[in-house]
């Protein structure tokens, strides 16, 4: 056994794959290979993640003491704006769709590439151009509007490089639209023979729904930011009442995009978890159709609940009631998913490798994040909790506890496929546990802070809030270590990791039927699909037969 693994690298290296298909910078920057574009995105969003993370670290340090003192209020306001903008638009929204989605969508459906490979590369350049504009805005002096850009503060009163920041988001948005379009066409037109809609991996269902949201919602964001820019540049009165505008109009438009954007972040993570749970419990997923329908209904309902961000804005009381009840309803498909994942474990044969730990972490944190959403959907309770740390804790449980755990779980699951290497398993498990513990210590105290009434976006605060803030900052330092660990051992694995082989997890799905890393054109022979997804039961029977015959 040992000799075999030591010999494998020698036999692996010479084989042609997408990674050794050209080594020049040009071969990367002008590539149209969906797998290489996925890696370009991976490197760029990792950079943005640590930029946004650095801003968060400084904020948590400032909040150690009630009177602050580490940074000025002006700088703090820029830090939370930078943290929000970078994390939302340059990390979370692109994370799973552009990295794992780009890499996996063609592989999972048995295609050679996406439908429009060159458009795919254009998307990345738009993303980078947008990111550069946002980074320039930060370096040139920063923006202090908050990631929400509420008017008339952003359009009239704020100093700083609001327009450069908005332009960055605007440009990157076109990258998102193009990516969404690409995936929609790819999934419709390029599935392998036999791969019907209800044989698709659930990851594809979530990427498909996410793509629909990207295509339908992102233009509204572009329009909103353009109107804000028109008012700021030329004094066209749209949002500022002093010029005859309506400041609430901005909030309606902004949340019409930004609420569905939450589902852009969380749905792909749900897709990842739907792949991980069956694989590591060696069972087909419970209620496949219901999870697929739940995905679509979350996407649809997600467009109808934006007003729950505006319960104290002076929006009509009756509008508030409609948005409240719809927000309660949107939680039902999410609950269906949690129950289905749990039921999949029943009578499985469960193992606890790193990706599965992330999947468990996702379910736990997403459940808390989702259920605390009910507090905010409940009108009278939201009046108290709105714009406090309760909201901060809630959406970090969804967007970090949920979306980031899903991304990391997916990254660890498909890393052997992407790179052909295995990472150090015990370090990876340690990192997963560290992230889970650090996350909870960071954000759970913030629920209590919010209930006690601490508003968000405060660099200085009343002394009675200090204990919980210190706990939160302590948790953030553990979380930071947790996030740095994968960076180290994943990079290490590129050179020193054991070769993975085509299918280290013995997973079903077309992406595991080709070699790791896959060849330039994905499959040596065009695959034909003849079985249901997650056919682990048949596989388990086969494996046990083999074992018996060996015995």
């Amino acid at each position: 056994m040992n000799t075999e693994t030591r010999e494998l690298p020698m036999t692996l290296e010479p084989r042609a794959n997408y990674l050794n298909d050209g080594h020049s910078i040009r071969s990367w920057l002008l590539t149209t290979d969906h797998k290489r574009i996925g890696l370009l995105y991976m490197v760029s969003i990792t950079l943005f993640f640590f930029v946004g993370g650095a801003a968060a670290a400084m904020m948590r340090l400032e909040l150690l003491r009630p009177q602050g003192g580490l940074v000025t209020s002006a700088l703090y306001n820029k830090l939370f704006t930078m943290h929000g903008v970078i994390m939302v638009w340059f990390f979370l929204i692109p994370s799973i769709p552009t990295v794992l989605g780009n890499f996996l969508v063609p592989l999972m459906i048995g295609a050679r590439d996406v439908a429009f490979p060159r458009l795919n590369l254009v998307s990345w350049y738009l993303f980078i151009a947008g990111g550069a504009s946002a980074l320039w805005a930060i370096i040139a002096g920063g923006v202090d509007t908050g990631w929400t850009f509420y008017t008339p503060y952003s359009s009239t009163y704020a100093n700083g490089h609001v327009l450069a920041m908005a332009a960055g988001i605007f440009i990157a948005g076109f990258g998102s639209i193009a990516t969404g379009l690409n995936f929609i066409v790819t999934i419709h037109k390029m599935r392998a023979p036999g791969l019907t809609w209800f044989r698709l991996p659930l990851f594809i269902w979530t990427i498909y729904t996410t793509s629909l949201i990207l295509v339908l919602a992102t233009p509204v964001l572009a329009i909103t930011l353009t109107l804000m820019a028109l008012e700021r540049l030329f004094g066209v009165g749209i949002f500022n009442p002093a010029m005859g505008g309506d400041p609430l109009l901005f909030q309606h438009l902004f949340w019409f995009y930004s609420h569905p954007a939450v589902y852009i972040m969380i749905l792909p993570s749900m897709g990842v978890v739907s792949e991980l749970i069956p694989c590591f419990s060696r069972k087909s997923i419970f209620g496949y159709n219901f999870i697929a329908y739940a995905t679509i209904s979350i996407g649809v309902f997600g467009f109808l609940v934006w007003g729950h961000h505006m319960f104290v804005s002076s929006q009509s009381v009756y509008a508030g009631m409609i948005f409240s009840i719809l927000s309660f309803l949107v939680s039902i498909p999410s609950a269906i998913k949690v129950f289905n994942w749990t039921a999949t474990l029943y009578k499985g044969s469960i193992t606890f490798q790193t990706p599965m730990l992330y999947a468990f972490g996702f379910i736990g944190l997403f459940t808390i994040g989702g259920l605390t959403g009910l507090f905010l959907a409940a009108l009278a309770v939201d009046v108290h909790l709105h714009d406090t740390y309760f909201v901060i804790a809630h959406f970090h449980y969804i967007m970090v506890g949920g979306a980031v755990m899903g991304y990391l779980g997916g990254l660890h699951f498909w890393w052997p496929k992407i790179t052909g290497r295995l990472y150090c398993e015990w370090l990876a498990k340690l990192a997963a546990v560290t992230i889970f513990a650090g996350f909870n210590l960071t954000f759970f105290p913030q629920f209590i802070l919010g209930f006690m009434g601490m508003p968000r976006r405060y660099p200085v605060y009343a002394p009675e809030f200090q204990v919980l803030n210190v706990l939160s900052t302590a948790g953030a330092s553990i979380l930071a270590i947790g996030y740095l660990l994968p960076l180290a051992y994943l990079l290490w694995s590129l050179r020193y990791g054991k070769p993975a082989g085509a299918n280290p997890w013995k997973a079903t799905g077309l992406e595991w039927k080709t070699s790791s890393p896959p060849p330039r054109d994905n499959f040596a022979n065009a695959p034909v699909v003849t079985e249901e997804p997650y056919n682990y039961d048949a596989q388990a029977a086969e494996l046990s037969l083999e074992e018996n015959s060996h015995a």
Partner: protein
């Protein structure tokens, strides 16, 4: 603040607070139970069905439909119940009771300016008696702010160009935080102050302090004459403009055929944007007073016009 031993339960100091807290604690119990259920099931399955365990795997794939229907429909009545409960409370929070003590609030970067109807003014402080309903009529001079008193469990955005209201009945004497909850720029975090809820005797003493200033309506009357409003809106005026006595709270027909109720917002808009809604039967000759009158003076003028209403009603 007053009672740190109650941590993590914030002080309940208004009539609204217990209602909100009951929903909060009920939700906490329900959601806590739900989370524990999921965690317990996952833990149970992970132990019992770990690879290599001897637990039976027979019938591993039960029919999913009954389960799916069950866990789709089960939460529904619970959610609807919580929705109605919270919506009912919200409705109550949005409707100030008649006869509430009206106090005007003007927010600006980065301070709260309070005007009592007796003309008394405060900055970043609000003194109110315990047990009396208070209605705040609020407006911002610049960006959006938010008047948040955690101990009262209520907050409301304060918008430029539009009056918003917020009400509560303080139930417990003490000193409570006032926070700005809507991010408003540089000093957002220190745009706060204190609400002093006082026993009636203490409040009376506080009222007696210092020179009693003009009432808000009296100040409004002065502004009304200084800015020349009386030049047109008076019975003996040569220019035809509507008389303003007694119009507050009444329906006013507009030149486009619609009918509006004369309220704070209508009066404010008519002063700043006179061509927006023109009273039926009059020429649109009124100049705008935008940039000529401060938010505080506007509030005073509106208070004056309201006081005319009460005079009119006494007159047969």
């Amino acid at each position: 603040m007053n009672n740190p031993s109650s941590f993590p339960f914030p002080e309940q100091a208004s009539n609204l607070a217990p209602g909100v807290d009951w929903i909060f604690y009920t939700l906490t119990a329900l959601c806590g139970a739900m989370t524990l259920l999921v965690v317990a099931l996952i833990t149970l399955f992970c132990v019992r069905y770990r690879r290599g365990s001897r637990a039976s795997r027979a019938n591993a794939n039960p029919r999913s439909l009954p389960w799916e229907v069950g866990w789709t429909l089960l939460p529904l009545p619970i959610f609807l119940a919580i929705f109605f409960w919270a919506a009912k409370t919200y409705f109550r929070m949005s409707r100030p009771p008649k006869g509430a003590m009206e106090i005007n609030v003007v927010a600006k970067q980065w301070m709260w300016k309070i005007q009592h109807s007796d003309g008394r003014r405060e900055i970043n402080e609000l003194h109110i008696p315990v047990g009396r309903a208070v209605k705040l009529v609020m407006i911002s001079q610049d960006v959006i702010h938010d008047f948040y008193v955690p101990a009262f469990r209520t907050k409301q955005d304060v918008l430029p160009g539009r009056y918003t209201t917020e009400w509560f009945t303080p139930t417990k004497p003490g000193k409570y935080h006032l926070f700005c909850a809507q991010y408003c720029g540089l000093d957002h975090a220190i745009m706060g102050g204190w609400i002093y809820v006082m026993m009636p005797a203490d409040y009376a003493q506080w009222l007696a302090q210092g020179q009693p200033p003009d009432s808000l309506a009296a100040r409004g009357e002065r502004v009304f004459y200084t800015l020349g409003c009386s030049g047109c809106h008076a019975a003996n005026s040569k220019i035809r403009a509507p008389l303003l006595d007694g119009i507050y709270g009444k329906p006013a027909p507009l030149s486009d055929g619609t009918i509006v109720t004369v309220d704070d917002q209508y009066l404010r808009d008519s002063i700043l944007l006179p061509n927006k809604q023109i009273a039926a039967g009059y020429e649109p000759v009124m100049p705008t007073f935008q940039n000529r009158i401060s938010e505080e003076d506007l509030t005073a003028v509106i208070a004056y016009l309201k006081s005319l209403g009460s005079v009119e009603r006494n007159d047969p």
